[in-house]
Subunit: 340 residues, 2 copies
Amino acid sequence: MIWRMMAALLLSLGVSLGVGPLIIRQLRKLHFGTVIYELGPAHQQKQGTPVMGGLMIALGLLLSQVLLHPFPWRGGWDLGLGLLGVSFLSMAVGFADDWIKAVKKRHEGLTPWQKIAGQVIVAAGFACWCYLHPEIGSRITVPFLHREWELGIWYLPVMTLVVIFYVNSTNLQDGLDGLLGTITVVSSSAWTMVILIGVFLLGWSRDGMTPAGIFSLSLAGACVGYLRFNRYPAKVFMGDTGSMLIGGATVGLAMVTRMPLLLIMVGLCPILSSVSVILQRYYFKATRKFGKDHQGKRLFRMSPIHHHFEKLGYSETQIVSMYAGITTVASIIAVLSLLK
Amino acid sequence: MIWRMMAALLLSLGVSLGVGPLIIRQLRKLHFGTVIYELGPAHQQKQGTPVMGGLMIALGLLLSQVLLHPFPWRGGWDLGLGLLGVSFLSMAVGFADDWIKAVKKRHEGLTPWQKIAGQVIVAAGFACWCYLHPEIGSRITVPFLHREWELGIWYLPVMTLVVIFYVNSTNLQDGLDGLLGTITVVSSSAWTMVILIGVFLLGWSRDGMTPAGIFSLSLAGACVGYLRFNRYPAKVFMGDTGSMLIGGATVGLAMVTRMPLLLIMVGLCPILSSVSVILQRYYFKATRKFGKDHQGKRLFRMSPIHHHFEKLGYSETQIVSMYAGITTVASIIAVLSLLK
């Protein structure tokens, strides 16, 4: 298990470093550049940066699983299969979105309804798979308390919502050069530690968890390689392709380890990004409806909240460093919360 | 143990965030600004940035140990005492250096001989302490092989050199905004995992290791807080005060866990910085002596190697991100190397 995990880390790092330049050149050739949203902060110089860089992460995840998976595959309940399933199907929704944007050259890709319909299908399907899985089921671990919580049939609707919410959160989080990639290196390292604690201390099936360990470290390695091209100033963006892939992969790791509650810590930054968008919208609506002069007011200068920090004068790299620090501290506490 | 470690992380984070502005203001008032070395890359705008920001990290380490240590102290063999000893005494050498520079306003602080004499005393003293310690002794763990290596009396000279080499390596590494701080967040998280693996899987004394766990996480937390002020563009530098403190703290963790060999991975970047300086010097001397035209040639545009990357056109934040990625990958492999 350990050797396979190390190999996955290095393999996916090598893959994304190696194919990165090829993918970027190919995307440029196809004119798959970003169309920058007119209302955003002054990011006009990013116009034309190729998107869909997430494909290099996808390739790392796939190759690691294909080459390093401890054959024979354990059939339909194989965790590697489930993780690849939820992440690649989430990616497919984002990819369709990016593809349409790239071809039509306008900011809107899929219609909101198409997007949400795709996400609901993926999320509900994965929640069912986990629910029926003999080693996952409907019990989730409560951090700090060292006990489990039986959700019963409620697992299905709740986890469907969790998947949809988290995939959209990482999608919102991906707004600055290197931001989501850096956070994902930290969070997937944390999931790796969770898997190791599970196997070595909590008695989880070692063979069963090996594909999950390979998956989490190949995600970390692929993101380190991806950052080579995406750190400020970015040569490529991951696009919805990449952010939804990462969202699906992360929430998948949380669910196969039966630790979706740990997402609150390990995925704190993406979740706060979503929350900031929701707060912004409702505050605006509420002040317009109930405020003295019926003028909508804004809680943040701009949402998601990383753009608020930008408007306050922080540079992109400062915000990335801050988010990485927060994710590191929260992830360490998450990992420690499983021990006693 | 776990609660104390979480508390140490948050306490030292809070301390460095809280006292940071006070320390910076105080250092400014005392005119303890950097004097930028004339031959360095174009960093002239950094002239006057206060140094000795490492004091905020020191305060976090000290307070965590004082407030969270599981009393009663275990006398002279307490790991908390040893770790504070090696890190604060290393810091004292750097502090003397910074102090003289600040007062004399020139680049040279202590003479090289004063500096090395101070370091030898600290290093030899700590090596003796470890050698005589009932739970450390002269056996070190060999990663990957899951066995131990008895150094016998050779432990003393070898470890003295390791401490001196590593403390000077972190000192050289501290050359760009946020560089050493970021690396230290990653590496001290890795040492925390090593300690947890030791306690939970390798049967180390839980009570004995608790101060080391507190120490490693308070180092991580303090550095996250410190980066708030040191990330590009830096408002404060840690100075030799900070870099030697971090060097002593890190090599201390490596030695009390009997894993100095893991430093090769977890401390890869500082070590490569030292190696690049040594290579540069010997290559220059060798080409001057044996080269065709007896002109000294340079292997790197500038050493330590992070300045070489700067000269190649990478920005400070890109180099920090690259070093953080390398340290993360190497640290994950280091942690995995202890498992089987």
